[in-house]
């Protein structure tokens, strides 16, 4: 029997997240990846899937971490909650990070928990001074509890609030400026929200401070007819559409070389489909690098 239960701090080689294309690790692909170690630049897991006391998943993540740079992406930190943090959750995440030493840790600019009820969705914040104060306080406390900096991801949303007074891109930039955290720029979310709320996606990207961005997400989304209108739903159940690839190119031109991650959470296909999307993303990264060099020359 191994010392699975023991804290193994410092037992993994340092593997920073490269400015290359990675994929989100999902359960149906784990054993295949452990067995065949396919050529994938890096992997990202949902942190909350790995907080158990023991069992197969924890053992699998140890094997994965031996072979791949790992990013821990949270979905349940609820950084926008006015009631503040679940201290137990913060401590459990810290233990996870200390054990697996991920190259990046992140969560979302949204809220999920209210009054001790966890709603299991990335719910929208109004962009107000109050909400900005709340989320900056929570990001400060999370970074303190984790003992490491984190990235915060721009959300997709289906509503805008009467109360909002701050554009989302300013809200994102302000969180980074006030807390020192980085930004995880999800270009699919920007595309979805720009359609749903009628703003200019490229202007959004241009307004984000390039040196704050530590990671980019790409994904697929769905269209849903609502009466005469169409709403875009961020369902992560398909490959990115052409306009999202275009936005990625725009982001890479603005940001320079940045780690890019493909997320696929619903109707999960064969691993080869995901690695093919990652290859396409890598091609876009390579093109951007070449373009930049040509431009400089």
């Amino acid at each position: 029997m191994t010392e699975t239960g023991a804290k193994s701090s410092g037992s993994f080689a340092e593997l920073p997240i490269p400015a290359q294309a990675g994929i989100g690790l999902r359960h149906p692909h784990v054993l295949e990846i452990i067995e065949h170690t396919p050529d994938i630049a890096w992997l990202e897991v949902h942190s909350e899937n790995y907080l158990a006391a023991g069992g197969a998943r924890m053992r699998q993540l140890e094997a994965i971490r031996q072979d791949y740079p790992l990013s821990c992406h949270g979905v349940a930190l609820s950084l926008g909650s006015v009631g503040g943090h679940d201290q137990t959750h913060l401590a459990q995440l810290r233990s996870l990070f200390d054990r697996f030493e991920p190259g990046l840790v992140s969560d979302h600019v949204s809220w999920t928990t209210t009054g001790g009820t966890y709603l299991n969705d990335l719910l929208p914040l109004p962009y107000t001074e109050e909400a900005l104060d709340v989320i900056c306080r929570n990001v400060d406390q999370a970074q303190e509890a984790f003992g490491r900096p984190m990235l915060v991801e721009n959300p997709s949303s289906y509503v805008t609030f009467h109360a909002s007074t701050i554009p989302e891109w300013v809200f994102m930039s302000e969180i980074a400026r006030r807390t020192g955290c980085g930004i995880l720029l999800d270009v699919n979310n920007i595309f979805v929200s720009s359609h749903n709320h009628g703003f200019d996606a490229t202007a959004y990207i241009d307004a984000i401070p390039a040196d704050a961005v530590g990671e980019i997400h790409i994904a697929g989304h769905a269209r849903r007819e609502m009466g005469a209108a169409t709403i875009l739903i961020d369902d992560h159940s398909s490959a990115p559409i052409d306009q999202v690839w275009d936005l990625l190119d725009h982001a890479l031109a603005h940001l320079g070389a940045t780690p890019v991650l493909m997320e696929w959470d619903g109707d999960i296909p064969e691993l080869s489909v995901l690695t093919a999307v990652a290859e396409t993303a890598q091609h876009h990264l390579d093109q951007a690098a070449t373009g930049k060099l040509a431009h400089v020359a």
């Binding site: 006391a53 197969a56 009820t117 299991n120 109360a163």
Partner: protein, 246 residues
């Protein structure tokens, strides 16, 4: 303001009260209520899906639609209290027990929920080395009955008034044959297993797990099964890996 907004979203999903949240958001060609409903449906739908994944045998036996009704009622009445989906569903069996439409027609359903939760819970439980029965060779026979054993942290025991293991394993209820009324769920290494166990074996395990000596636990089992085969029962428990080392 943020406080009220959070409560309004929660109530839109869990209490079906969309109006308060809808007042907070802008409407255009899409009504504010319809926009809020996207979130409300996703909250209840995604949590129902979590329960579907944890309780597949229940869903198989009651049907997708009935399961969605029971699960949806549970989600609205007892949403997760922690940001941990792997911990969500521990109260489902008790809820099903108090769910009148199920209790009359499907009296075994709460026990099936207990067994499925035990299986799920075992998967995520702490690791520990399994007990090696080879070490018993060093024990003098006269000291054997004084031995005590520690349950493995991933072992779970379920007793029922129904053939619960057979119900759990059956593809349809017509396949259920009368078997034992107890189940042991184990995970000595990484793979979870559920075992059909007779009353004597179940009593032996639960008495040992409560800290009784092997001799005392055997007496407990004998009161239930007159011709209780201690050695046979113990060998099975060791094979299944219900105890841990140390």
């Amino acid at each position: 303001m943020l406080h009220e907004l959070e409560a309004a979203f929660r109530d839109s999903a869990l209490a079906g009260e969309i109006a308060a949240a809808a007042e907070l958001v802008r409407a255009d060609e899409i009504a504010a209520e319809d926009r809020i409903a996207v979130y409300a449906n996703n909250i209840v739908g995604s949590l129902t899906e979590v329960l579907e994944n944890t309780f597949p045998a229940m869903q198989r036996h009651v049907g997708e639609e009935n399961f969605a009704v029971i699960a949806g009622a549970f989600v609205r009445s007892q949403p997760p209290a922690r940001p941990r989906l792997d911990l969500y569903g521990g109260g489902f069996a008790e809820f099903v027990d108090g769910f009148a439409p199920a209790r009359e027609n499907l009296p075994w359903l709460p026990d099936l929920a207990r067994l499925e939760w035990a299986y799920h819970d075992s998967y995520f439980a702490a690791d520990a080395p399994r007990f090696d029965p080879g070490t018993l060779g060093e024990i003098a026979p006269e000291e054997m009955l004084a031995l005590t054993f520690t349950p493995h942290p991933a072992t779970r025991a379920i007793a029922s008034a129904y053939p619960i293991h057979a119900i759990w394993a059956a593809e349809t209820l017509a396949d259920v044959t009368e078997t034992g009324y107890q189940a042991l769920v184990t995970r000595p290494e990484l793979d979870v297993a559920a075992w059909d166990v007779d009353a004597g074996g179940y009593l032996l395990f639960t008495a040992l797990a409560a800290g009784q000596s092997l001799g005392d636990a055997a007496l407990v089992a004998q009161t239930e099964e007159e011709d209780f085969d201690l050695q046979g029962a113990l060998v099975r428990l060791f094979e299944w890996g219900v105890f841990r080392d140390g």
